[in-house]
Amino acid sequence: MKSDDSPPHPDRPAGAVRLEGLAKSFDGRVRAVDGVDLEIGEGEFFAMLGPSGSGKTTVLRMIAGFERPTAGRVLLGGVDVTALPPFDRDVNTVFQDYALFPHMTIEQNVGYGLMVRRVPKAERAERVRAALAMVRLEGFERRRPAQLSGGQRQRVALARALVNRPKVLLLDEPLGALDLKLRHEMQAELKRIQREVGITFVFVTHDQDEALTMSDRVAVFNAGRIEQVGSPAEVYEHPATAFVAGFVGTSNLLDGAAAEQVVGETGLFSVRPEKIRIAHPDDPAGPDELSATGRVAEVVYAGGHTRFLVDLEAGGRLTAVRQNLDEGSADVLRHRGTDVVLAWQRKHTVRVGP
C-alpha cells in the first residue's frame, strides 16, 4: 500500500474516525476489506473513492456498525466502538436509496431518531423544523416519501440524519440516484451544509469528479485496500500508483521502451492529458519539457474541449486535451492522421510504478 503518512489536515485536530487494520471477509472467503488504516479528522469532508466492489461501502458500514469487522478496530472520537451496535454509535448514515420509512410522514421520518431517544416533543418539533429548513424543505412536513421527487427524498434523508447532531455523518453514494443537474446542485448543497454544521462527513462515491470537487481529502480504494490518501490535488497531480492514476482522471501511462525513450528512465509514469501541449513537428520542446513524437489516431470532439489520442513513435498511446478556444468540431476533426509532437513539463511526469 502506498498511502501517504501526512497528518489528516493541518489545521484540524485528528481523531473523529480512526480505523486500525480493518478487515472484513464474507462467508469466510471473499476479502471485501483487506487491512485498512485510516484517520479522519474532526470536521473533515472526507471521500472514500473507488470502483464498485473495492470495499469502500463495507468500510462505511463497519463505521456505522452494520457489519462487524473480521479483524481490526473502529474508533470514534478515540473510543473503541468495534463491538457496539449501530444504535449505540454517535454516527448517522445517509443511505444510497435514502431508506426513508414509507409509512411515516416527512416530519415523522426526520423526527424518528429524536423520538427514539425520547427528546421532549416541543424540542423535537423545533429541531425537525430547523433541519427541514436547512435542507430547504419547509412545508413538506405532512407529506409522505412517495409524494416527493428523488432530490427531495435525498434532502429528507440528510435532514433525518443531521437532526440528531451526530459526531460523524456517513454518506453512502448519496447522489448516485440523481440526474446530473440535480447532482451538481446537491454537491454544492452538501458543501454548504457541511460548512454550516461543521460535522465530519465521510462520503462514499465511485465518481472521481464528485470526490475531487467536494472533499478535503480522498482515500482511493482498490480491491479492499487503500491505494492513496491525500488532498484532491495530491491524488490527482501525484498519483501514487498506476491504479490511482487511471481511476482518478484519464489513464495516461508511459512504460517500457516509451518510458525509457521519452522520460529517460525505466519505470511506469503518468501524465495528465491537460498538461500535454500539442505542437507542430518542427516546434522545439522547451528546456524543462519532455516531448514525444506521434501520429493523431483519434480525435474526440466533446463540445468544450477535444481529446486527441496520439500513437507514439516510441510505442504506447497518450491522450492530450485541448480547450476549443477558437476551433469548431470540423476544424479539430481535420487533425486526425497528422504527425504531432506532444510536449509537457518534466515536473508533470509522475512515477506510479517501478
Binding site: 456505522a64 456498525g65 452494520f66 451496535p85 449501530p86 444504535f87 454516527v91 448517522n92 448514515t93 443511505f95 444510497q96 436509496d97 431508506a99 426513508l100 420509512f101 414509507p102 409509512h103 424518528y112 431518531g113 427514539v116 431517544r117 433525518r160 440524519a161 440528531n164
Partner: protein
C-alpha cells in the same frame, strides 16, 4: 430462414386478423373464464339468494316457490341461530389471531434470518401440508384429541388432559389447517421489506424491539391482514373439521348442512350469514390496504 410451408398459411391469416382486431382477441381470451364465472359462480350465488326467499311445506317438506322473508327473520331472531353465528364468528377470529401470532415469528425467521438454502426448504415445508388431504389431517387430529390419545399422553404428566372433541379442538385444528395461508403472505411481506430500512432504524438509535414496533410491524400489517382474509373466511365456512373433531359443537356450516335436506330455503338464508360476514370483513380489511398486497 425460409418462409414457413403453405400449411401454416391459414393459421397465419387468422393470426393477422386477430392482430388487427383487439376486441376479437379479448373476446377469445376471456370467453371461457367469463362463462365459468357468470354461470357457475354468480349463477349459483343468485339461485342461493333466490331460494332463501322460498318456503317449505310443513307436511311434505317440499320446497314451495312462495315469496316470503320468514327464513331471514328466523335466522336473525331465533336465539339458537344467533348463538351459532356468534360461535362461528368467535372461532374464526380465534383461529385468525392464533395463526397471526404463530406465523409471524416463523415468517420472520424464514424471510430475514435463514440462509437462502434453509429458506427454500422452509417454504417447501410450509407448503407440504397443503398437498396432503384435508380429511387425513382432520382425522389425524381426531386421533390426537381422542381420550387416551397422543395429547392425553403428552400432557398427562402435567396433570392435564385432552380437551376432547369440542370448540377448542375445532379452533386448534382449523388454526393448524390454515396456518400456511397466513405464513406465506406474511413471509412475502417481510421479504419485501427493504433491509436498509432496518439498518436506518438502528442507525437512528432504535433497538431491535423499537424497530420491530415502529418499522417492521406497520409495514407488514397489511400482509397479516391479507393472510387473515384466508384464515377468517375458511374458518367461517368450515364444516368438515367441525364434524370430525367438534363433537356436539354447532357452527354455521353444520347448521346449513343439517337444514339442506329438511328445509332448503332456511339453509340458503343461513348461508347468507357467512357471506355477509365475509363481505363485511373484506370491506374492513380493504381500509388497511391489505388487499393490494394479496
Amino acid at each position: 430462414m425460409a418462409p414457413p410451408p403453405t400449411a401454416a398459411r391459414p393459421l397465419r391469416r387468422a393470426a393477422s386478423v386477430l392482430h388487427r382486431r383487439a376486441g376479437l382477441r379479448l373476446a377469445l381470451l376471456l370467453s371461457a373464464p367469463m362463462a365459468w364465472l357468470v354461470l357457475a359462480y354468480l349463477g349459483s350465488l343468485a339461485v342461493l339468494l333466490l331460494s332463501a326467499f322460498w318456503a317449505v311445506d310443513d307436511f311434505t317438506y317440499d320446497v314451495e316457490r312462495v315469496w316470503n322473508t320468514a327464513n331471514f327473520s328466523t335466522v336473525l331472531t331465533e336465539p339458537v341461530y344467533r348463538a351459532i353465528a356468534l360461535r362461528t364468528l368467535g372461532i374464526a377470529v380465534a383461529v385468525t389471531v392464533i395463526d397471526a401470532v404463530v406465523a409471524f415469528p416463523m415468517a420472520f425467521y424464514m424471510a430475514r434470518v435463514a440462509r437462502p438454502r434453509t429458506r427454500k426448504l422452509l417454504v417447501v415445508a410450509v407448503l407440504t401440508p397443503l398437498w396432503a388431504s384435508y380429511l387425513v389431517k382432520a382425522y389425524a387430529w381426531r386421533v390426537i384429541f381422542s381420550q387416551g390419545g397422543v395429547l392425553d399422553w403428552l400432557v398427562g404428566p402435567l396433570g392435564l388432559s385432552s380437551p376432547g372433541y369440542g370448540t377448542t379442538a375445532v379452533i386448534v385444528v382449523l388454526a393448524y389447517l390454515w396456518l400456511p395461508y397466513m405464513i406465506l403472505p406474511v413471509y412475502s411481506g417481510l421479504e419485501n421489506l427493504p433491509a436498509n430500512l432496518l439498518d436506518a432504524s438502528a442507525d437512528l438509535g432504535a433497538s431491535a424491539g423499537r424497530t420491530f414496533r415502529s418499522v417492521v410491524l406497520p409495514q407488514v400489517l397489511p400482509s397479516v391482514f391479507a393472510g387473515s382474509v384466508f384464515t377468517f373466511s375458511l374458518s367461517l365456512g368450515d364444516y368438515v373439521t367441525v364434524r370430525i373433531v367438534g363433537g356436539k359443537t354447532q357452527v354455521l356450516g353444520t347448521a346449513i348442512a343439517d337444514n339442506v335436506t329438511l328445509n332448503l330455503p332456511l339453509a340458503a338464508a343461513l348461508s347468507c350469514v357467512p357471506v355477509v360476514l365475509i363481505v363485511g370483513y373484506l370491506l374492513a380489511v380493504r381500509r388497511t390496504g391489505a388487499l393490494e398486497s394479496l
